[in-house]
């Protein structure tokens, strides 16, 4: 009996020792790998900086390990730089083994490998990888789709606008990532967004109109004014929000009409937009709305009055029947 227990104890001790030895070996291997990487990075950093600054001529021949480290350092720089330095990174990567390897990894069996490749391609600044990234937007795994969306935005691939809007609306990509990618496409995407604003799907139209408000300018206001009459209330609300950013005096009459929209959240958005545009002509309607409409539009109207005419707001709040929203806005304004 005792002999058996001793044998079991010895087996446990031996297993524990073996585990400790294994852990020590693993730690040594990882530390050595980190050291090798740090050494390689020290070697290639001056080369990477010279490259982004357009110094030196032909890059020296590097070992494949150093090439991989250089690609990683340049990928990091790509996230931090714009302008000519960013363009030089794209020039460097065009047709390199690093791009070919990432494109190959986009078809890998393991999800993490595909996602990492999609992410890396965005940092390589080479727009020629767009078709592969667009295909990755349909990957079966969310992580890959998300990395592809982020990279399409970083690369400024305007043709990706519709697939990105669809991914945003269907939630196949987290809305923050898809939205950021679309905003990163910038004003160059406006013509494409104008086309998307005619899409048969209301949610897609609404997203396009919202994005036009973020990346467009006053020349796009007539489109948003037309969208105020869209059959979909979501599109009408998006149009009012967009006009609060890019609308001018011409947007005020249609926004005043939208104060009578049958849906309260459209009325609220129109009131907020008129406040943002400092529309004096809308004051009587906004004051009436602040007194009589339901909670959300009445509150938006009172806040709009506060932006347009703080003195009139203070006077209106003292009148009988002013209601809670005018009081609240006046109190906040007095603080």
């Amino acid at each position: 009996m005792i002999g058996g227990l001793i044998i079991v104890a010895l087996v446990f001790v031996a297993a524990a020792l073996a585990m400790l030895v294994l852990l020590a070996i693993r730690r040594t291997v990882l530390a050595r790998r980190d050291r090798r990487y740090a050494d390689a990075e020290r070697r290639v950093r001056p080369l990477a900086i010279a490259l982004v600054e357009g110094d030196g001529g032909e890059p020296p021949t590097l070992s494949s390990a150093d090439q991989a480290v250089l690609a990683e350092v340049l990928g990091r720089y790509s996230r931090k730089l714009t302008g000519a330095a960013h363009a030089r990174i794209a020039d460097y990567f065009r047709g390199t083994p690093a791009v070919r390897a990432a494109l190959h990894d986009l078809r890998a069996r393991r999800m993490w490998r595909r996602a990492a490749a999609a992410y890396r391609l965005g940092d390589m600044a080479d727009p020629e990888v767009a078709p592969a990234l667009l295909a990755a937007l349909d990957d079966s795994r969310r992580q890959v789709r998300t990395a592809a969306a982020r990279s399409l935005g970083r690369l400024g691939i305007v043709e990706a606008a519709l697939p990105l809007v669809e991914a945003l609306v269907s939630r196949r990509v987290p809305s923050g990532v898809a939205g950021q990618a679309l905003v990163e496409l910038g004003p160059a995407a406006v013509p494409e967004l104008r086309r998307i604003a005619e899409h048969p799907e209301p949610q897609i139209r609404a997203a396009a109109v919202t994005l036009i408000g973020l990346v467009g300018d006053s020349r796009d206001a007539p489109l948003a004014v037309s969208a105020l009459e869209d059959p979909s209330a979501d599109v009408r609300r998006a149009a009012a929000e967009t006009l609060s950013r890019i609308g001018g005096a011409a947007a005020e009459p249609p926004l005043r009409t939208a104060l009578s929209d049958r849906l309260h959240f459209v009325r609220a958005a129109a009131a907020a937009a008129l406040g943002a545009l400092r529309s004096d002509a809308a004051l009587p309607q906004l004051l009436e709305m602040a007194r009589t409409d339901r909670f959300r539009p009445a509150r938006a109207a009172a806040q709009a009055v506060a932006r347009i005419a703080p003195r009139e707001l203070a006077a209106a709040a003292k009148e009988p029947g002013a209601g809670p929203h005018l009081h609240e806005a006046a109190d906040l304004g007095a603080m």
Binding site: V52, E53, K80, L81, T82, A84
Partner: protein, 131 residues
């Protein structure tokens, strides 16, 4: 290191950022443009360097350990020796309110990350050229 107050061959710029890549890219570009660059990796180190070396201009990150760029700018403005030193904030915080906050704290210019080293160098040159 440059002797404080001594005649300098090259204007001295203090660059402060906790991101080693940014610091290196900024330093490389500014040195190539003819400046001597002092590097700091956090707000406190930057404050000490500014007091000791009295640089001609500072390029400061906003989100830094120990002392953020807004507070650092305020402290530099409050000290006589550095109160007139031009300051450029270089930051990923790109909201308009952040830009306002930067100018309120006393910054002379604001550059958003990701940034163009060329643009940074042009702005440094423009500010130092005006003095």
């Amino acid at each position: 290191m440059t002797e404080p107050g001594a005649e300098r061959d090259r204007p001295v710029v203090l660059a402060a950022d906790d991101d080693e890549d940014i610091l290196e890219l900024v330093a490389f570009r500014l040195e190539r443009s003819g400046y001597t660059v002092l590097q700091a990796r956090d707000g406190e180190e930057a404050l000490e360097l500014a007091r000791a070396e009295k640089p001609d201009l500072a390029v400061l990150d906003v989100m830094m350990p120990k002392l953020d760029g807004f507070e650092l700018t305020r402290r530099l403005r409050a000290e006589e020796a550095t109160s007139k030193m031009p300051i450029i904030l270089l930051t990923a915080r790109a909201q308009d309110t952040d830009v306002d906050r930067g100018f309120e704290s006393g910054a002379d210019d604001y550059l958003r990350k990701p940034f163009s080293p060329q643009e940074l160098s042009t702005r440094v040159q423009a500010i130092l050229g005006r003095r």
